[in-house]
């Protein structure tokens, strides 16, 4: 090789090296929250206040991230997860989210909890083109309004989708149903109500009474008594955990034996056990789930992993609290999305991964798939019904798919 050719070769190699280095640098300089060794995400959650019982979720998510970090992270990057307490007050959510984006320079807003808090930050995040992902709320907006807010995507099955399943079930399997509904008198309750009516179809005429309560009321006994008096033999309880437990106790107390449908959010085994200890007869109650059944199948790989992660990284956590399993399932999804975002993730590649899901999440019920397209953004839209018997939920029947 001549000296000239050697020089040219060296220069070429240097040029390529320089380009590669500056590309890597430029990528991380352009993408907030991503460095060579770390990736920072953040979210807002109610750690104090009346919704604080959901505050276990970010801790479970943090535990999963610690586990992933212990195995080297994602493409060599450790996940840094910052979560702040907004107390379920949107006036706190907004400044805290601005802090996450503009001061903590997070790569994405992950898992933030609550419909109103997320509605408050959605505009800001989309305007700033910050991924607003896997939001912890069952509203449908995160999918139905994707055209206007393309940087936003949800995670769990939406509430109307869930109650549609109940409606379809009652319509097909409970022909003599006379349906009573207890619902929270706001958008939360209305979401479930609408889905139920849709699922019932022509059977909607079998609804004999609808009773409402306000979130500030803790005693729903008069509503339950009225539902019984209306002659219902099926009752759908679309309420928050506290009122659900109270309703179940009152049902037993007044000697009523309807088939009760309970929304997934309030059906955690923990709440059912509390209801039972307070005197409720909860055998036979029906709900729906999409999560792995770690209680009846404690020996599956997923169940063992779940419990060991909690034990090691979130020691106070109760594995029977389904919110913890929710958190781990959600965290798995985030990690998978990061893996699929390429060696050096950008916000666009990240959103692309999330809107092209075709995954089997081990923490979901076996057989369920996480599927999305850019136009169809419900990651989980399959559920299975479960019935409570002898102290645990038992899934039954087939998986309801595309329940919309």
């Amino acid at each position: 090789m001549t000296k000239r050719m050697k020089a040219a070769l060296v220069l070429a190699v240097l040029a390529v090296a320089a380009a590669a280095v500056s590309a890597a640098f430029a990528a991380s300089a352009r993408t907030p929250g991503v460095t060579a060794k770390t990736i920072t995400i953040g979210g807002t959650f109610p750690l104090t206040g009346p919704a604080a019982l959901y505050g276990v979720i970010p801790k479970a998510e943090a535990a999963y991230f610690k586990y992933v970090n212990s195995k080297g992270g994602v493409h060599g990057r450790k996940i840094i997860f910052k979560y702040y307490d907004d107390g379920y007050n949107p006036a706190n959510t907004v400044p805290l989210t601005k802090k996450l984006v503009e001061q903590d320079h997070v790569f994405a807003d992950y898992g933030s909890l609550g419909t109103a808090p997320n509605l408050a930050i959605r505009g800001y995040l989309n305007k700033a083109k910050v991924p607003h992902v896997l939001v912890a709320t069952g509203d449908s907006y995160w999918a139905t309004q994707a055209k206007v807010y393309p940087w936003t995507i949800g995670f769990q099955p939406d509430y109307p989708g869930e109650s549609r399943v109940y409606g379809q079930f009652i319509r097909n399997k409970v022909p003599q149903a006379k349906i009573g509904i207890l619902m929270q008198d706001d958008a939360y309750g209305k979401n479930y109500y609408d889905g139920l009516i849709q699922g019932l179809g022509p059977a909607a005429s079998k609804v004999v009474d609808v009773e409402k309560y306000d979130a500030t009321q803790t005693d729903v006994s008069s509503q339950i008594v009225k539902l019984k008096a209306a002659g219902a033999n099926v009752v759908a309880i679309f309420a928050l955990p506290t009122q659900t437990i109270t309703a179940l106790v009152v049902i037993t107390k007044i000697g009523w034996h309807p088939t009760a449908f309970i929304n997934n959010v309030s059906a955690s085994p923990l709440f059912m056990a509390l209801a039972q200890k307070s005197g409720a007869n909860v055998d036979g109650d029906i709900s729906a789930t999409y999560l792995q059944d770690t209680i009846n199948n404690p020996k599956t790989a997923a169940a063992i992993l779940y419990k060991s992660i909690l034990k090691k990284y979130d020691p106070g956590a109760d594995p029977n609290d389904a919110n913890n399993l929710y958190g781990v399932a959600s965290a798995w999804t985030l990690v998978k999305a990061l893996e699929d975002s390429g060696k050096t993730p950008t916000r666009s590649s990240f959103m692309s991964a999330l809107t092209h899901m075709n995954w089997k999440n081990p923490f979901l019920y076996p057989g369920l798939k996480m599927l999305t397209t850019p136009k169809e953004r419900f990651p989980i839209d399959q559920q299975i019904l479960e019935q409570y018997k002898s102290g645990a939920w038992h899934p039954f029947g087939h998986v309801f798919s595309k329940a919309r």
Binding site: L47, T48, P58, K59, A62, K82, Y83, Y84, D85, G87, Y88, N89, P90, A91, V94, P95, L96, K98, K99, E102, Q103, T115, A116, L119, A120, R122, G123, Y124, K127, D185, D186, A187, Y188, D214, T216
Partner: protein
């Protein structure tokens, strides 16, 4: 205590502080400008509370409700009727004033803790009303408004604060202010020297509520969102904390109080490791500590340090009600 313009020092300090507030945003990031706008909101809210509690001696733990009225007025007019943001502020003030008078009238009958309960009830009732009339207010899902840059928010917030401060200052140095203070110090003496108690007490509530409503409007603009949870009881309690920590009966303490309740929690959130579970513990402890060390608030510290204003009441008398003992 009112700043005496006769004192050159007072004027100079006022101008210096105003200049600082006007110039700081240029050195701040967008995020910190938004934070500054939040401080302005609470500046106005605490100023409002000071008028009715510090100067007229009527305790209120319900000012969050008046903020709600202003906030919702702005949100509804902007969201549903396409009004310009700033144009809604005077409307909010008027709505707040009316609400304040409505609360002020039954409040005439009550003193001290009983009045506190009345305002407490108002603070709880207003968010419930917002939930009830959800076709108007958006209910629990609220109303989302367009976002603004930090600079815009800061500018609007502090411009409003300056206007409110000027109004308060003019009001309190004149006859109305003297009447308010007379009502606070001794109702019986005030009445016997010709102050129509009912009128002045109600007016003080009205003005205070009107100001708080404007604060609520700006609050909604800063957060580009409104729903009943934004105006819960916690908000009213924080405004009261800010007013007392700043120093009741002082216009200067208002700035200190607003900074305290806005900046301290944020600083604590930044400092906390991992999660923000420890923030309320530290904040609560600091509030207790401040009450133990500076019972008359930051304004008293300023007074002692700068020899401001001899009208400032030295003595730890209750400014609430006048039950003689």
């Amino acid at each position: 205590m009112r700043p005496k313009p006769a004192t050159l020092a007072g004027l100079v300090v006022t101008l210096a502080v105003a200049a600082a507030i006007a110039l700081i945003p240029f050195a701040l990031s967008n995020y910190h400008r938004s934070t500054g706008a939040d401080v302005a909101v609470f500046f106005v809210a605490i100023l409002a509370l000071n008028i009715v509690t510090g100067y007229t001696g009527q305790i209120s733990i319900g000012h969050g409700a008046f903020m709600a009225i202003g906030g919702y007025a702005t949100a509804i007019l902007t969201h549903d009727h396409g009004w310009n943001d700033i144009a809604t502020l005077p409307i909010a003030a008027i709505c707040g004033f009316i609400a304040g008078v409505i609360v002020g009238v039954p409040a005439l009958r009550f003193q001290g803790v009983y009045l506190a309960l009345t305002t407490f009830a108002v603070a709880l009732a207003v968010p419930q009303l917002a939930k009830n009339y959800s076709h108007l207010t958006g209910g629990t899902e609220g109303l989302a408004l367009p976002t603004h840059t930090g600079m815009w928010l800061y500018g609007v917030g502090w411009a409003v604060a300056a206007v409110m401060f000027a109004i308060a200052w003019l009001l309190l140095r004149g006859r109305t202010g003297r009447a308010f203070r007379a009502v606070r110090d001794s109702e019986i003496a005030a009445a016997s020297s010709g102050v129509t108690l009912a009128v002045y007490k109600t007016v003080s509530f009205g003005i205070s509520a009107g100001m708080a409503a404007v604060a609520g409007s700006v609050y909604v603009l800063v957060n580009n969102f409104v729903n009943p949870d934004v105006f819960g009881l916690t908000l009213s309690l924080y405004i009261l904390i800010g007013a007392v920590v700043g120093g009741l009966g002082s216009l200067w303490g208002v700035l200190a109080g607003a900074c305290f309740i806005q900046l301290l929690p944020i600083a604590l959130t930044t400092g906390s490791v991992g999660s923000s579970q420890s923030v309320p513990v530290v904040f609560g402890a600091v509030v207790i500590g401040v009450m133990a060390l500076l019972p008359l608030g930051a304004a008293n510290l300023l007074r002692v340090a700068l020899h401001f204003g001899s009208q400032w009441r030295q003595h730890s008398d209750t400014p609430l009600g006048t039950e003689g003992r």
